[in-house]
Subunit: 136 residues, 2 copies
DNA sequence: CAAGATTGACGGCTCAATCTTC
DNA sequence: GAAGATTGAGCCGTCAATCTTG
């Protein structure tokens, strides 16, 4: 808990200073990019570990400055697609170096190569474990 | 980030069901207990990774139900001491088994003994590292 | 009726300003 | 003037209720 809090705090400070793109905004843009540029509203919520209402309001704010846009889902008229705009794509690309450097500075830097690999294995085990025990 | 979010979410659900003592309340009580029963306001804030105003409001809520109490610091009249009450001590003790079981179920269970030791080493390295680079 | 998304009410955190004591 | 603590305004997340479409 303490490691998470400290690393996130430091990352946010760095990004606020250098980049003006908060960490969760960056995560949103990267998530969309990795998904090919667009996702359904509820898929986005799940991947960002947000509730649906939080996702709605989050997308409201990001759409307001033009980094993403909503379109009605062609296959299900109830659903909304959230898509990266060209502006959003550029914002993600220009934010990437600062963000990755911050992660390295506040996290990776303090670990050996071997520790990084073990940590990845361990955390993935927990993620899988959590998924298994979700419905207990 | 994802591991943290998932584990905290599951822990909170468990605690809400079984125990009615939120995770951050438990952390507050444990922190005070480990400090010998009382802490200065700003020390508490630091150990819980909260801002001072957040700590003030947090203690307001917990004091309102009688688990902690404020007293004026004897050595510095500007300062406040936050102390466990007898009720708070009992609440922490009765919450401990549920909380520890939850941590085991959602976190420890999925790790081998060796992974746990390595993870502890790794996370401590980051905590120390963060403290070193705080003022860069 | 169930699922996707949104909205309103409310809780809790942050920032800046304030008050008190060193 | 600086540090400890608090307060007010505003932002953001959650929960429950609502609207629309399957």
């Amino acid at each position: 808990m303490r490691v998470h809090a400290q690393v996130v705090d430091h990352l946010e400070s760095d990004l606020a200073d250098a980049n003006h793109l908060p960490l969760d905004w960056y995560e949103l843009l990267v998530t969309l990019r990795l998904a090919g540029g667009a996702l359904r509203m509820h898929e986005l919520a799940e991947q960002l570990t947000l509730s649906r209402s939080a996702a709605t309001r989050f997308v409201d704010r990001v759409e307001e400055v033009g980094l993403v846009e909503r379109t009605i889902c062609p296959t299900d008229r109830r659903g909304m697609m959230v898509a990266l705009t060209e502006t959003g794509r550029r914002a993600q690309q220009s934010a990437a170096p600062v963000t990755l450097r911050g992660i390295q500075r506040h996290f990776g830097q303090h670990l050996t190569e071997q520790q990084i690999e073990e940590l990845a294995t361990t955390l993935e085990a927990i993620l899988r474990g959590e998924e298994r025990t979700c419905d207990l």
